[in-house]
């Protein structure tokens, strides 16, 4: 009997599996592959030429400005003002303490350093890729970072006379350290609050669902700048004159609530991607709602949306610059103000300052996105390992 046949109705049927073929061999040399990706089509060839032309055209000037003609060492702006001078790195160097600490009193700045180093160590511990099968210490690190560290940081930064730390008012906080505080508060609050809101929105209790949904939609519906502006310039209209709320904590609350609302939507996406069978399965195993959430649903949901979460963090980190509008000296604001100092003011000072700021924000955001890619890859590998 023939191995193929025509079924009645005219459909072609095969009774045998098609033979398994090896993958097509990559016989192209690396330069062949390069050629294909850069000059594969006329359009791509054109774009390649255009962009390399642009790069060639700009690079020498950029290098000249950033490196060769840059002023590295100078006591004031004089050397940077000569025509043809490049970036004034001496300015950045000279103003660096201000960029990092803002107006924080000089002899108390060690407290900021200790806080930042502590935070960095805890973060590194939490984020360090863990070997499979090792006893997990991450929950402990997370508890330290999310519960204990904020209190320690608060005491260190704000001061506690009983421990011999003089108070440092928040209006003196500024610079990189302040940007990190704003971003840190946003991240530490938005993760748990975002998860709670996301769960709330999917809750079967109408009151909770309605409250969560209205909060999220309200926050997403108003621009952050409006909220910051209201909070910092107009709030006293609604309060008795004698009540004074700290000027930094108002935007902090605003930023944290905004981040939470966006985080909630990201997490909700993850929750929706968890198949219904997982809920039913864990229920069938006799898990309580809380157990099923903690052990089955959330771990899967969060993993689904890691890129979204990191994206929110990156956005949040860059949004911290908005607090400058309400008179808070975040890093970018300190750069902008330092440019006005008549001792340094000059034609290249602004460009230098902004370059430095771009470098700072770029590095941190790039780091975050790299880390998230790393995590995704590791999770993907782990999954593959389990399946195989």
């Amino acid at each position: 009997m023939a191995s193929n046949s025509i079924a009645p109705g005219g459909t072609y049927l095969s009774h045998k599996n098609a033979p398994v073929l090896p993958p097509p061999k990559q016989k192209d040399a690396w330069w062949e592959r390069l050629r294909r990706s850069f000059f594969g089509t006329p359009l791509s060839a054109f774009l390649t030429l255009l962009s390399s032309g642009l790069i060639l055209w700009l690079t020498p000037d950029l290098l000249r400005f950033v490196l060769f003609d840059a002023v590295w060492n100078a006591p004031d702006g004089e050397a940077c003002r000569v025509p043809g001078a490049g970036a004034c790195w001496a300015f950045v160097w000279h103003k660096l303490p201000y960029f990092i600490f803002g107006s924080y009193p000089e002899h108390e700045r060690w407290r900021v350093v200790v806080t930042l180093v502590l935070g960095a160590l805890l973060l590194a511990w939490l984020l360090w890729p863990q070997k499979m099968g090792k006893h997990p210490d991450k929950p402990f690190a997370a508890a330290l970072l999310f519960l204990v560290y904020p209190l320690v940081a608060l005491v260190l930064l704000l001061g506690a006379p009983i421990f011999g730390l003089p108070m440092v008012d928040t209006d003196l906080w500024g610079g990189i350290f302040l940007s990190l505080v704003v971003a840190g508060v946003g991240i530490v609050v938005s993760m748990p609050l975002g998860i709670i809101l996301a769960l709330g929105r999917r809750s079967s209790l109408p009151v909770i669902a309605l409250a969560s949904t209205s909060f999220i939609e309200f926050v997403r519906g108003v621009p952050m700048i409006t909220v910051l502006f209201m909070a910092n310039f107009m709030l006293p209209l609604f309060l008795p004159e004698t009540v004074h709320i700290d000027r930094l904590s108002r935007p902090l609350v605003g930023v944290a609530l905004f981040a939470s609302a966006y985080m909630a939507e990201v997490v909700r996406g993850g929750l929706q991607a968890v198949p219904k069978g997982q809920y039913e399965g864990s229920a069938a195993l006799g898990f309580t709602t809380w157990q099923s959430l903690r052990l089955v649903i959330l771990p899967q949901a969060i993993v689904h949306v890691i890129p979204g979460i990191v994206n929110t963090f990156i956005g949040l980190f860059k949004d911290t610059t908005l607090v400058a509008i309400v008179g808070i000296f975040d890093f970018l604001r300190t750069v902008e103000t330092a440019r006005l100092d008549p001792v340094w003011a000059g034609p290249t000072i602004s460009a230098t300052g902004y370059l430095f700021a771009a470098l700072f924000y770029g590095t941190i955001c790039f780091g975050m996105s790299r880390y998230s890619i790393g995590i995704e890859r590791r999770l993907a590998e782990r999954k593959k390992g389990r399946v195989a």
Partner: protein
């Protein structure tokens, strides 16, 4: 039911109590003064390398703090853009706005403020590139002009060109710095703002000598601190801090010879420094309130010199900002 009624009444009372407390009491209770300042204008208000605020307008706030607390550091500055400054004062976020703000009728009547006096007599000027070869603002026909939003500057500009029947193109920016950048990169032919500000701005250019400030002063810009209407005690206090500093200069009392002057037999100086009469208490302050101001901040001339005059990078001449005894306009009513 009864409980919620009581709560409501209590809240109402606390609100009323809050609303009727004078600004001075609120400031004293809070422990520091809230002062609206310039976000960054050399000479008037700018933080230094350590983040400490300095400037002519800043020193005025420090003088008020010195008079109240005997401590010029008991003041928090809220940097405000030209647009936002009035909102912050209206709402009560700041007790006092000291941010090179021009005294105008509409700002008092329309917006509910009171200017407490004039600390700096200014006027609006123009700056142009030397190579344009312009020697008078009247030659700026058809020019594009960089100007800052929400300022009297913007309005005067329109008046000037309209009344001289000249066409022009205004290009507005939110901050003085953006306006300067635009001017420097050639977006506009001329930059206009308060003459004092022009000098501060010019210092930031590549080659300050390539730019000229035109001779025309097209407006009166009496700059001074302002407060909300409705609190006469606070208004008086802020007003007299300014007068005290001017009087101290007139009487030759400054931060360096202060101790020596406490021994002076001149009745005027005795009144000034609180050895005769009890003027401070009428303002809700102490007897030695002027002594405190001079000790911590200095007299008007010292403040001018340190921030704007020869002791500064700007080197602005006293000109009409001299005392009336020296041909200027500063004339303060006597302390008596």
């Amino acid at each position: 039911m009864l409980k919620s009624l009581i709560v409501a009444v209590l809240i109402g009372f606390s609100l009323m109590a809050g609303a009727s407390a004078g600004t001075l009491d609120v400031v004293k209770g809070r422990g520091f003064l809230n002062c609206g300042s310039n976000p960054g204008l050399a000479g008037f208000g700018l933080p230094d390398d350590k983040g400490e605020w300095h400037g002519f307008d800043i020193d005025f706030c420090r003088a008020v703090a010195a008079a109240i607390f005997d401590d010029p550091t008991k003041v928090k500055f809220l940097p405000l853009s030209s647009k936002d400054r009035f909102t912050a004062l209206q709402s009560g976020e700041i007790d006092l706005l000291s941010r090179n703000t021009s005294w105008t009728l509409s700002r008092e009547v329309g917006q509910g403020f009171l200017f407490t006096g004039i600390t700096y007599y200014d006027g609006q000027g123009f700056m142009v590139h030397r190579k344009l070869n312009v020697s008078s603002a009247l030659e700026l026909s058809g020019a594009s002009i960089c100007v800052q939003q929400g300022t009297t500057t913007e309005l005067n500009l329109a008046d000037f060109f309209r009344s001289n029947n000249l066409p022009y193109e205004p290009v507005t920016f939110a901050t003085g710095d953006e306006a300067l950048k635009a001017y420097e990169t050639g977006r506009c032919d001329a930059l206009t703002t308060d003459a004092s500000g022009l000098y501060a701005q010019r210092a930031k250019l590549t080659n300050p000598a390539d730019h000229v400030v035109l001779p025309e002063i097209i407006s009166k810009e009496p700059l001074g601190p302002l407060v909300r209407q409705g609190d006469d005690q606070w208004f008086n206090l802020v007003r007299w801090v300014n007068f005290a500093m001017v009087n101290a200069e007139e009487d030759g009392v400054n931060s360096k010879n202060l101790e020596e002057k406490t021994k002076s037999e001149s009745p005027e100086i005795k009144r000034l420094l609180g050895f005769e009469g009890n003027f401070g208490e009428g303002l809700g302050l102490t007897r030695d309130w002027i002594y405190r101001i001079i000790k911590h901040v200095g007299n008007y001339g010292e403040v001018f010199d340190r921030n704007l005059g020869d002791g500064s990078k700007l080197k602005i001449k006293r000109g009409i900002n001299s005392l009336w005894t020296k041909g200027g306009l500063h004339y303060a009513p006597p302390v008596r």
